[in-house]
């Protein structure tokens, strides 16, 4: 990689920051863990650390990385700074699937709602992609517009599903609307992480094409990039990982939009560097947001999505001011 030296420093810095974040997030929680008793094999302390806190911290990091990677991919593919997995209808599709399946009474059968949410996310992006396709060409503006319009449609369906459902179903559907890392299991960590690694591998394979695409489609074509193929694969990869993330944790906003811009403002615009840096940045942001959400009020938990914005927005605004 031509920029490997310039990638090394920010990558090292972010990796260190992530490690510190993970260490703090594992050390602090609703309960005070006594490390000697964990070491001595105290059952409760071990269960809290290994079965509750650790998977939750890792899931937060994996979800954050996934959303940021999807965000930077969509922004690059569409050459639009506002593109974000949620603006493109992925969230709407997932939430719609979750809301409708809970309203139909599937909320009480474990596993059904996340599966429908995942199908909704993938279905929505497929629909957005097909809607934006004209002859053999996918127009970025049409893509964004289709996403926005589909999101509006999904919102209406969700509202109707909510008005028709019982209050207990409402709680179930709200889980997906508000986003939470509650009840993270090693299975969910494994699922999200393996899809993230797979997705990032595919995107890394396309990284040079995506970098060229950032300069414009005609330019990229002239340099031998198969633009439509890159769009299709990139779009599919980013959507599938987002779908999995939303199916597991619900909608955690701002990460896909915020993190890529933060990274661009501080360091580079080259997609090959952006991809790993965004993954690290997203992991840090959501792990920190989740830490705050679970320690601010003792024993109670606040919505994690609120903290991604509270943490990210001031930082983002100060950078934006400095960058003018």
């Amino acid at each position: 990689m031509p920029h490997s030296d310039r990638l090394a420093r920010p990558a090292l810095l972010l990796t260190l920051l992530l490690l510190v974040t993970l260490a703090v997030a594992v050390a602090i929680g609703a309960t005070r863990l006594s490390w000697p008793s964990v070491w001595a094999g105290d059952e409760t302390a071990r269960a809290i650390l290994l079965r509750i806190r650790l998977p939750r911290v890792l899931l937060a990091a994996a979800i954050g990385a996934t959303l940021a990677v999807a965000g930077v991919t969509f922004q690059t593919l569409l050459r639009n700074p506002l593109a974000d997995p949620f603006i493109l209808g992925v969230s709407g599709g997932a939430a719609c699937g979750a809301a409708v399946s809970t309203a139909l009474g599937f909320g009480r059968i474990p596993g059904v709602v996340p599966l429908v949410a995942f199908a909704g996310a993938c279905g929505a992006t497929a629909a957005v992609f097909l809607l934006a396709r004209r002859r053999d060409h996918t127009d970025p503006t049409r893509l964004l517009l289709s996403g926005l319009v589909l999101n509006a449609f999904f919102s209406s369906v969700i509202l109707i599903a909510f008005s028709l459902s019982k209050s207990s179903d409402l709680t179930a559907a709200l889980r997906w609307m508000m986003g939470t890392l509650f009840g993270a299991t090693w299975t969910s960590v494994l699922l999200v992480t393996s899809l993230l690694v797979l997705g990032m591998a595919v995107l890394a394979f396309l990284a040079n094409d995506l970098r060229l695409l950032a300069f414009g489609e005609e330019d990229a074509k002239a340099r031998g990039v198969n633009v439509e193929r890159v769009k299709l694969i990139g779009f599919a990869a980013a959507s599938i990982v987002t779908g999995a993330a939303v199916a597991v944790s619900g909608i955690i906003g701002f990460v896909g939009l915020l993190v890529p811009h933060l990274i661009r403002l501080i360091w580079r615009r080259d997609f090959r560097a952006l991809l790993p840096l965004c993954a690290l940045g997203g992991a840090i942001l959501v792990a920190d947001a989740d830490l705050l959400s679970r320690v601010i009020v003792p024993s109670a938990e606040l919505p994690v999505g609120a903290f991604t914005a509270i943490l990210g927005v001031p930082f983002f605004l100060s950078l934006l001011r400095r960058a003018r």
Partner: protein, 247 residues
Amino acid sequence: MAIPAHVRRVITLAPNITELVYAIGAGDRVVGTDDVSNYPPAAARLPKVGSMQPNVEQITALKPDLVLASTEGNHPSLAPALAAVGIPLYVVRTDRLPEIATAMTRLGEVLDAPAAPAAARTLTADIAAQRRTRAHAPRILFAVWTDPLYVGGHETFVDDLLVLTGARNAVEVTGWPQYSLESLAAHPPDLILYPRKSVNAQQMAVLLEKAGDLHVPSRAIDEDVFTRPGPRVGEAAKGLNAILDGK
């Protein structure tokens, strides 16, 4: 809007208000209820006018002299909407245990129901009869939902019932917050109660497994009886005492 001296047609907009109106002997004047009101059986058969956002057209069509709502479930635009069609609204506070008898008396005055004072006295006696002190107050957790876990904390009607029956709320939080799985694992309660219409045994099992394979007994209860601050509070407390005595 003034409340008429002789209320002949009433619409109730909360299930506990409906139960209270029937309990003071004014059930024959109820002409419509919210969607959730299902008790007594006669109330379940009445026309339904919505719940969180009641349908004002439907309410108007039922020609009530008065609409009754509870402070908790009162939509902010309901009063002006009813005022526009000339229907008075009376709102009662009922979200805590001591307020139920007061609400009964007030409703009795508003509806001019002669049986109300006696009903309120019976209710107060029923509640007093269920008061217990226990040498070892069992720690009870009331789980409203399992994923994420929502619990009934302090300063709620459910907490009032626990205190009355000599139990102790297992959580230190107030209101109805999302609750930490770690805290559940670190201080397991003696018993978990859960609403049987919203949560099933399998969901409860998944929750306990996620909390590190907790072995805590759990018991499904009828949320209509246990979470409605209404005339069946004595029955709820009696049921809770039976559960606690059986332990």
